[in-house]
């Protein structure tokens, strides 16, 4: 099972991506798999904010965990719609998800 998502890179270019929903992958990992410039330094522990993105579409995302809240409170360039890509698990409800990578 795959869903279609769109990631806008830091140069403003749109990348339509197919994301599997049955591989326990998160958005940071999808970006890495497509070789988009997402570092994922901490490996997905919500501890580095290198996968911060702005969620542009209206999708029912999981609530932020205390760890994600804490990391976003220390990160830079944070906006209302900021999320950590590593905390967004791919599932069917996210068909059509659109995000933009935050500056490094």
């Amino acid at each position: 099972m795959e869903i279609n998502i769109t990631v806008i890179d830091r140069d403003g270019q749109e990348h339509p991506l197919q994301a599997p929903t049955d591989m326990a992958m998160n958005l940071m990992e999808i970006c890495k798999a497509y070789e988009l410039p997402v570092e994922g330094t901490c490996g997905g522990m919500a501890m580095c904010a290198s996968c911060q993105c702005y969620v542009l579409s209206q999708h029912p995302l999981q609530e932020k965990s205390p760890d994600e809240e804490a990391m976003l409170s220390e990160a830079f360039h944070v906006k209302e719609n900021s999320r950590l890509g590593c905390q967004i698990q791919m599932d069917e409800k996210l068909e059509g998800l659109k995000v933009e990578l935050a500056p490094e």
Binding site: E39, C42, M47, C48, S50, A70, E74, F76
Partner: protein, 350 residues
């Protein structure tokens, strides 16, 4: 000048294990790391998080893995240059290398192994106008000696462990300590959070949350900060502003050493020995790349092992070498220690 057989740049798990494999071949190692303690990311970023894919360890905390590696390599007496960044590398006429750190410490060896992980950890700097202008003139990102702040007015910004820990330390040294954070909640060890709470209750520190520094002012030195606190904006006189927003890895000076770089990693020849395009310089662990590369600690261990065999041949081109098993040969430390399997006794049972 520090002389050794292998200079290892990066004291994370891969670099530490390389000391063991080198030791089995009677090669001495010296490690350089920009962090103040060995362990790399495991010690700096997630010491209290579990790792589940170390063979034979169903679960181990990253910090414990580092401690155990340190114990394992102890017989081979590695040297350490910690808190310094490998800045320059110079190839000598005889093919050996001199590696110099940002503090000027020099290391000389026939082989260099880069086990730099994601690179050098550098402080994350907040996006503030003129911030760079005040570096070393009142803005510090790393606290090296608390005494520097004795009887000074200090403002620390951040919400993690280092902000909390340094607030506690400086509270008894500085004239005034202010801790500000964008949220009311802090992320740190419970003990530290409670200590900071107590200091606040005793009016020994000033805590401003949720708040942010928005501007820096001064003449030759930083002298005051503008703080946004909810609806209000206030000026606060300070001697030092210490933003503690964690560390971020950068490839750093190594990027200019003439090594072949691909996607922020050093290209190596994985079919042989993880040597880079410069003979005598190897790259092992997360810092290297080759077809099929996986950034796993266990792969770093494997790479370190092959690297050491190749390094031995480079250092002693005429010596024959054969792989030995520690169960059979035991371990002879450079410190004179000896570990070996118990010999079975042969005795008649009457």
């Amino acid at each position: 000048m520090i002389k050794t057989d292998i200079i290892i740049i990066g004291a994370g798990p891969t670099g530490l294990f390389a000391v063991f494999e080198a030791g089995l071949l009677k090669l001495k190692c010296h490690l350089i790391d920009s962090l103040a303690q060995p362990g790399g990311q495991c010690a700096e970023i997630y010491p209290k998080k579990p790792i589940y894919d170390i063979p034979s360890r169903p679960e181990i905390m990253a910090g414990d893995l580092v401690d155990q590696l340190m114990e394992q390599i102890q017989p081979f007496q590695p040297g350490f240059t910690l808190g310094e960044t490998a800045q320059d590398i110079e190839k000598q006429a005889d093919g050996s290398f001199v590696v110099t750190t940002d503090k000027g410490t020099q290391h000389h060896a026939p082989v260099v192994a880069i086990a730099g992980g994601l690179g050098t950890f550098e402080p994350r700097k907040p996006d503030l106008p003129n911030l760079l202008q005040w570096e070393d003139k009142g803005v510090d990102y790393i606290i090296k000696d608390p005494e520097k702040y004795r009887n000074k007015k200090v403002l620390i910004a951040g919400g993690g462990d280092s902000a909390l820990d340094w607030t506690i330390v400086l509270a008894s040294v500085a004239e005034q300590v202010t801790l500000i954070h964008r949220r009311n909640e802090f992320r740190g060890a419970l003990d530290s959070v409670e200590k900071v709470q107590a200091l606040k209750n005793q009016n020994k520190i000033q805590l401003i949350t949720p708040a942010e520094v928005t501007a820096l002012e001064g003449n030759n030195r930083l002298s005051s900060l503008t703080i946004n606190h909810g609806e209000t904006t206030a000026e606060q006189p300070v001697d030092y502003f210490i933003p503690l927003f964690g560390l971020t890895p950068k490839l750093g000076p190594m990027a200019h050493w003439g090594l072949e770089i691909e996607k922020n990693a050093i290209k190596v020849n994985n079919s042989l020995d993880y040597q880079t395009n410069i003979p005598g310089i190897y790259a092992i662990g997360d810092i290297n790349t080759y077809p099929g590369k996986l950034k796993l600690i266990l792969c770093g261990f494997h790479e370190a092992t092959l690297m050491c065999q190749s390094a031995f041949q480079r250092i002693y081109p005429d010596k024959r070498n054969v792989l030995k098993y520690t169960t059979v040969s035991g371990i002879s430390g450079f410190d004179g220690s000896r570990k070996e399997a118990q010999k079975s006794t042969i005795k008649t049972i009457e």
